[in-house]
Subunit: 239 residues, 2 copies
Amino acid sequence: MATNAAVVPMLEPGHPCFNCAVRELAVCGVLESAALRAFKESGPTVHHQAGETIVFEGDEAQCVYSLTSGLLRLSKLLPDGRRQIAGFLFPGDFLGITLEEDHAFTAEAIAPSTLCKFPRRHFEAFMADHPALERRLYAVAAHELAAARQQLVLLGRKTATERLASFLLMLDGRCHAARGGDAIELPMSRADMADYLGLRIETVSREFSTLRAGRVIQLITRQSFRIIDRERLEQLADG
Amino acid sequence: MATNAAVVPMLEPGHPCFNCAVRELAVCGVLESAALRAFKESGPTVHHQAGETIVFEGDEAQCVYSLTSGLLRLSKLLPDGRRQIAGFLFPGDFLGITLEEDHAFTAEAIAPSTLCKFPRRHFEAFMADHPALERRLYAVAAHELAAARQQLVLLGRKTATERLASFLLMLDGRCHAARGGDAIELPMSRADMADYLGLRIETVSREFSTLRAGRVIQLITRQSFRIIDRERLEQLADG
DNA sequence: CGACGGATTGAAGCACCTCAACGGGAGTGG
DNA sequence: CCACTCCCGTTGAGGTGCTTCAATCCGTCG
């Protein structure tokens, strides 16, 4: 969460990462200019439309990625079609924290997305040469682990109301550092929210309606909302 | 899961870790004799009875631990008493993968347990000096992350039957490398299973009964069972 | 032996799901 | 500019899987 955004050196014009908006957020933030250039040049920049799959569950993990813009979902499918979304990836997030042979989850673009793609062999060699990168990746993994475990509490023990309230607060924290009555975007469909929260679409929709009726949130459009009563929302989120 | 158990050097008698049964499994496995000695001597060995708490959720994370014997549970409590267990720690597991100030989960002993305790400051200094340790810890974190995400699927989308079947198979894989009709221990109470699986005690009990009635498992005692029909159990686990 | 705590079983309730109909905004074509 | 359509989201009514509440069982320990 708290990134060491303090000391990220300015890059010279012409550097391949000069215009990167998320360098400080991403794992790249720990590399200085020359190393970062070599790192970036070890792989291409790729674009994906909404709906496209970046990696398939079960595929061999040959590359890792850094998301620079857009939005991804990490999901898993049961044989009969039930789906669980393990998490969303926002700009600055890293895709491919694993030491297994294969990807355990499918990663799909929800919005048009841009990613820096790195062959895993190069990436691992680079990690070995740059302990700061390895340390940073450990920090990311530890943070993801904490988030996943927090989500276990939500899925195992929270009611539908509590789940949606928690989710909305998470979105608020994730999307805007700026607070205070601002519009918060809902960048994914109700189906994606449902599969993330372990609910059905209809239940998510009903809970939105209830929160709206209770003057806790305001639905500006179907894709954005405003928190009216944050205190109440936080109460609802924790039971 | 797959540990690099291949190349773990023999220790000389008198080494503080000479008798450690889980050295190869634990993060310690990557350190050679002298470094391991220094590492071990940076903190005490502590014992806890079943029911005792090792770290409290919200407490400052001053130490990290390596579990050498016994069994711990990692749990979180909601204000009204609902509890979710995020995972169990078996011998060889590491407690304290976090870079946050505070522990996010409570860790309690379920069985009499022995832990190597390390002041976090020493531990982090040691990591900085021993890249292999850091790499190993990253591997552990990545593995825990994968396990937690797998558990998200269970909690978000699986039925009670599927949850218990998955859990029993996990126990089988975790406790014994030796297979084939062997007795598998259930080292925790029904309440702990329930809080891990996002169910109620009664539901866990009913599902045990159903599996038993269907000749899928045999309950030897209340604390141990045998898999009669593994194929069927695996079918049940995945839906 | 008697009491206690964990586990099992039974019966009734409820939160969320399923199935179904409807609504509304975006894109398309006339 | 409007009508049509499609898709996503919302709302309603009924069903169900798990929970809740309660009684009983059983192994352990005093």
